[in-house]
């Protein structure tokens, strides 16, 4: 849940006074957001948690410079995004190649087809790597970070309508990528009025 803006200053003040519990609470509240952003930039890589660790250390050390011009969530979003982008640059991480993927379980598959949720999750994960960064980050914030459209718009500094468009187009792009890979659900063009 997003904190009201006035509470941001109280939390920051407590952490700066050396209150460790306040810092733990702060991390707990924004953990989903920070993780979603790092995953949004890096994808499902081994070093996601290392980068996230650096993000939290940076937040802890940088809280003294938080002036409250932006919301705390926006400030944390920016730190997480920059840290993840820097990690990509530093290590020149290769893009995860798409393997044969399938979003199984369409009605056309018939009752004999086994719907494997874990496999679907992995396939979606790989397809996410092909999305535009903005689409991927918006989707991760929405689903992994469990943030509202308004919160995402605040953090990314975008109009609400643009965020909705990113998320819906991101899903449409995911469908295209997954379909291209396995032809399981061909794009339908044609039709009835």
């Amino acid at each position: 849940m997003e904190l009201p803006e006035e509470r941001d200053h109280e939390i920051v003040a407590k952490v700066l006074q050396g209150n460790q519990k306040a810092f733990a609470d702060l991390i707990e509240r924004f953990h989903g957001t920070a993780y979603a952003v790092v995953r949004g930039v890096l994808g499902d890589r081994d070093d996601v948690e290392d980068v996230l660790q650096h993000v939290y250390i940076k937040i802890y050390k940088g809280l003294g410079s938080f002036r409250g011009d932006a919301k705390l969530s926006t400030w944390i979003y920016q730190i997480a995004r920059n840290e993840a982008i820097n990690a990509v640059r530093r290590r020149q991480l290769p893009v995860t190649p798409l393997e044969d993927v399938e979003l199984s379980g369409s009605p056309a598959d018939g009752p004999e087809h086994r719907y494997d949720k874990q496999q679907v999750g992995r396939n979606v994960e790989r397809a996410m790597a092909e999305l535009d960064d903005n689409y991927r980050i918006a989707l991760e914030l929405r689903y992994m970070g469990e943030r509202s459209y308004e919160e995402i718009a605040d953090m990314m500094g975008l109009p609400l309508g643009t965020v909705k468009t990113y998320i819906h187009r991101g899903k449409a792009e995911l469908k295209k990528v997954l379909t291209r890979q396995n032809k399981a659900v061909p794009l339908h063009r044609g039709g009835s009025d």
Partner: protein, 169 residues
């Protein structure tokens, strides 16, 4: 509604975010279009899969512990910070005074009963303070009551503040 329009709206429909009027129109199209129903099934499964992604977020606790390690905050240091804090010291002093008073209660009784002059000393301080306040009030009963009430409120607020700070810490 054409299939292109339907497909464009399917992601929002599958997540239950499409405008009711558009949703009704879309349902009308779906009733007569097997291909779009198939596409809807795809988006519904995609929605389910995306919703499950929240389960992949690891616990925040170990990250917090790792930050303490990184910035040199050991468990011992955390304990020392609490011990060195004003609320902790105040509470400790209060408890220690209580214990001391309990253990030495006979001596305290003697102080007030015997020839130590302790009771006289306290009484004289109280009397001096009282006479100063009375002089300041100039015989005004209302002002006198106000001064004592104010002093009581200040003592109570300070005690509450110190206790709350200790609890929060």
């Amino acid at each position: 509604m054409k299939c292109e329009t339907c497909e464009k709206n399917l992601p929002a429909y599958a997540s239950g975010e499409l405008d009711p009027t558009q949703a009704e129109e879309l349902r009308g199209h779906l009733a007569g279009c097997a291909a779009c129903r198939e596409a809807l099934a795809f988006f519904e499964k995609l929605e389910e899969s995306l919703t499950m992604r929240r389960l992949e977020v690891p616990s925040a606790r170990r990250f917090v512990r790792a930050v303490w390690r990184e910035v040199g905050y050991s468990r011992a240091r955390v304990v020392m910070d609490v011990v060195a804090s004003l609320p902790f010291l105040s509470s400790f002093a209060l408890i220690a005074s209580g214990i001391l008073f309990f253990l030495q209660r006979q001596r305290f009784v003697q102080m007030f009963e015997g020839d130590y002059g302790f009771s006289t000393w306290i009484a004289s301080i109280a009397e001096t303070f009282n006479s100063l306040v009375v002089d300041f009030a100039g015989g005004d009963t209302l002002m006198l009551s106000g001064i004592y009430a104010g002093a009581t409120v200040i003592v109570l607020l300070t005690t509450t503040l110190v206790t709350l700070r200790f609890i929060r810490h």
